[in-house]
């Protein structure tokens, strides 16, 4: 089994490399350089800037040097804030930047997953009850309606009108400032988790092996918690892998709505200022996270499914 895990991790490395290369070459093959039209630069100033950012080197050399940077854990230097390493902007000590986005994403997962599973399980066990219908329709609703609509609506109702929570800002990452953003995100993703859990429980309970369990006279609780739980959970787990990339993006969007100092702000600034290095760094960082999370989910799935364990 360890062999399979190692194999799984190794397989992702070419994918990651391909992504890094794609992003790098896309950025560096586009005509124009990041210092155009900023302010009038003397030719010497421009030349020295280009040299400082290695832009005067042949592209292959730049590529290899970039990979070398990445292996040493550095994303290079910002093109807007000259001289400032990107790592210090992405991962500042004061828990801003990337840590904000990561915190939002993790809190969302930690709440949405158990919440969604429990609701979905109850709905599946009481099919066609009013609760079940509620779960199904809220799935349709929250899947169709994006966070950029629910977010401002919640701010309007809970923050501006009822004044229960601050309308935005991070404060010092305290509960009051976290509540609304996390609420919006949890509402965006737990319905899907609940819906898949529900469908999965219904399928499992209709299966032949559950029929056998009943035929053996096993009490309902035993059937649910010994026979049904694993096959019911597996589809939900495989859902979580791709969902994490969605939560990451959702977190970034939510940061915009609530003006949180996370990756979202860094991204828009970088886009406006044409800070290529920063955009590359964020894209690659997002991809790394997605791939890592997918690996974790795959390994978890593998642990639970005996057919694959071999």
């Amino acid at each position: 089994m360890l062999k399979f895990a190692v194999k799984r991790i190794l397989v992702s490395i070419p994918t990651l490399l391909a992504i890094i290369s794609l992003v790098f070459f896309l950025v560096h093959i586009t005509p124009g350089n990041p210092f155009d039209g900023e302010r009038a630069l003397s030719p010497e100033a421009l030349k020295s800037l280009m040299a400082q950012y290695r832009l005067d080197l042949p592209i292959w050399q730049q590529y290899l040097l970039y990979l070398d940077d990445l292996i040493h854990g550095s994303f290079g230097i910002s093109m807007k804030y000259l001289g400032q390493p990107i790592n210090s902007l992405l991962f500042p000590d004061n828990m801003g930047g990337f840590w904000v986005t990561l915190r939002l994403s993790i809190y969302t997962m930690l709440i949405a997953v158990p919440f969604g599973i429990i609701l979905g399980a109850y709905a599946g066990l009481h099919k066609n009850s009013w609760f079940d219908k509620l779960v199904v329709s809220s799935n349709i609703f929250f899947t169709a309606v994006p966070t950029m609509v629910t977010g401002p609506l919640f701010v309007l109702i809970l923050a501006v009108t009822l004044q229960l929570f601050p309308a935005g800002g991070w404060g010092d990452g305290d509960f009051a400032h976290l509540f609304l953003p996390v609420l919006v995100l949890v509402l965006a993703y737990s319905p899907t988790i609940a819906f898949v859990t529900r469908g999965s429980i219904i399928d499992v309970l209709n299966s032949n092996y559950i029929r056998t369990a009943r035929a053996k006279g096993l009490p309902t609780k035993k059937i649910l918690f010994k026979h049904a739980i694993k096959p019911a959970i597996l589809p939900v787990i495989s859902l979580l892998g791709p969902m994490f990339a969605g939560i990451l993006v959702g977190a970034v969007v939510t940061e915009q709505i609530f003006t949180l100092p996370g990756l979202g702000v860094l991204t828009t600034n970088a886009a406006t200022n044409r800070d290529y290095n920063m955009i590359m760094a964020i894209t690659i960082l997002g991809s790394i996270l997605t791939i890592v999370f997918n690996i974790i989910v795959d390994l978890l799935y593998m642990l639970l499914d005996p057919k694959i364990k071999q």
Partner: protein
Amino acid sequence: MFVKAKNLNLDTPKTKGFWLSVFSRLARNKLAMTSGCIIVVLTLLCIVVPMFSSVAYDKTDWGQIMQSPSAAHWFGTDSLGRDLFVRCFIGGRITFEIAFAAAFVVLLVGIFYGAIAGYVGGKLDTIMMRIVDVLYGIPFLFFCILLITLFGNSMALSFVAIAAISWLDMSRIVRGQTLSIKHKEFVEAAMISGVSNFKIITRHVIPNLLGIVIVYAALTVPNMIVMSAVLSFFGLGVTEPMTSWGLLISDGAQNMQAWWLLLSPATLMVITLLSFAFLANGLRDALDPR
């Protein structure tokens, strides 16, 4: 005794009767039909309202800034005194244009890519799907932002960026469906009897793809709407004075005291998205009743 290949009439299960029954099932689904009508009505409004409005969408009126809804301005006005009613529908027009155009491209690329990968199979399939896997690893927002940063901000580019990310899902689904069709007995029979690949694709593969493609088309359009709205939220894509629902919602979010600025475009967008969702559900039920 063998019959010549071109005289064989290998009717696929998708006969005319099949499509008739699909349509009648759909017609009986009141929710789906209502949603379809809503979409048509909204589209018409988006075309007609800006055309016939007495007020232009970009006409500023400093004497009328931030007015709540009234007889003169049904949806109120914004911070530049522009009429929100007209802006909502011109925004809708832009949103629909981007969404339908992108969806069309996504469908085209996705179907061709997926069908070829699925039908040809082998090494080509493996390579094509590896490419999809790689692109899948990049969170869409970051990639769109990357593209827009590089190539400049414009409406056309935002549509290209959105389409460039979204064809992946469609191609995966089409490939899967193609694979399962390819292994059905009637296709294998056609292959053995020497029917040309082109005929097989057009007579057997494509009609069987239509079902799933229709459902996913109905799901793709709202995705495009959301993505273009999200981009607008980040200030990318459509720029002032032109507007889209995303921009309007973004503005509304920043001016919460003027609640009408948020409510109108948000409601329009929600209605549109829900209608597409119900329509897609209805299409799926009509094509595969179980």
